[in-house]
């Protein structure tokens, strides 16, 4: 049993190693992209990422600091080519709910340090307990 657990842990460690190698391999390319992305942010076009947990599909697009989360959420469905469901919830990818912040702008969220990396997720509520 311990052997299997160790194997699983090693698998995860290997993933981390692979990630590091990939990170290094594309670092030069990324430097160029970072300059472009940073320039876009400076010009008021922050990048946002939205993960659709129902399918694990992810989209990213540039927005503006004055855009509300509600608008970002709506645009994400268009980009994902999915329809909004009544029980969908908008969250930070840490799992923190953002349903009480939908009318806040990215600027306001940045000021209050909420989901600062702008990586969001759409989760459908389930029935259960």
């Amino acid at each position: 049993m311990e052997h299997q657990l160790l194997s699983l842990f090693h698998s995860r460690r290997d993933v981390s190693r692979m990630d590091v190698r990939l990170e290094r391999a594309v670092s030069k390319k990324r430097k160029g992209e970072t300059v472009t992305a940073q320039a876009q942010e400076d010009q008021g076009n922050p990048k946002v990422e939205v993960l659709y947990l129902n399918t694990n599909a992810e989209v990213s697009f540039h927005s503006s600091w004055g855009t509300t989360l509600r608008d970002i959420w709506a645009k994400a469905y268009v980009e994902l080519k999915e329809a909004k469901r009544d029980n969908d919830r908008f969250e930070c990818q840490t799992g923190q709910s953002l349903m009480n912040s939908l009318d806040k702008t990215l600027e306001q969220l940045r000021a209050e340090h909420t989901c600062q990396n702008r990586k969001y997720q759409i989760r459908s509520e389930t029935g259960g307990a």
Partner: protein, 164 residues
């Protein structure tokens, strides 16, 4: 009769989308047969992380959600007399619960009480229409996301029985 060929084909298709070029082994996942996927998940506590292994069965997929069970990582099965330590205790989450011995049709079974698991429908658990599994939208990624949410520190209370 479940259409097992359809289940295997849907798993092929959805797995490709979800992995996005990543290697199954590298993620620590495994597919011992065409209709089974084993996925390790970590639950976070204040001072440590606990490993769990979820076995997903795709014999009725995608019309129904995958069969979903926490299993002993050694036997890849769940024996309720000895394997409760491989089940997470989830408290305070209104969307998911784990029952180590759920009474159903005169038998006791493990039940992950969540509308994105097959067993939830097999025991005919009550559910609001808005929470039903939707074969057109959902994939097994939704099942894993629901379980991962239950394993967040705010809900996770450790294994059902101590491991040492």
């Amino acid at each position: 009769m479940p259409d097992v060929a359809a289940g295997a084909a849907a798993l092929d298709r959805h797995l490709e989308n979800i992995l996005q070029g990543k290697d199954l082994d590298r993620l620590g996942w495994s597919r011992p047969d065409k209709l089974t996927l084993l996925v390790p998940l970590f639950a976070q506590r204040a001072s440590s992380a606990d490993l769990y292994l979820v076995r997903l069965g795709f014999h009725s997929y995608p019309e129904w959600p995958p069969s979903t069970q926490f299993v002993n990582p050694e036997s890849l099965r769940y024996d309720m007399d000895t394997d409760k330590k491989w089940l997470p205790k989830i408290e305070g989450a209104i969307e998911i619960a784990v029952h180590p011995e759920y009474d159903h049709d005169g038998k006791k079974i493990q039940l992950i009480c969540c509308s994105y698991t097959l067993e939830f429908y097999e025991v005919k658990h009550g559910v609001d229409a808005q929470h039903l599994w939707d074969a057109k939208t959902h994939t097994f990624a939704a099942t894993l996301a629901a379980i991962r949410r239950g394993l967040l520190p705010e809900f996770y209370k450790g294994p059902f029985e101590p491991r040492s």
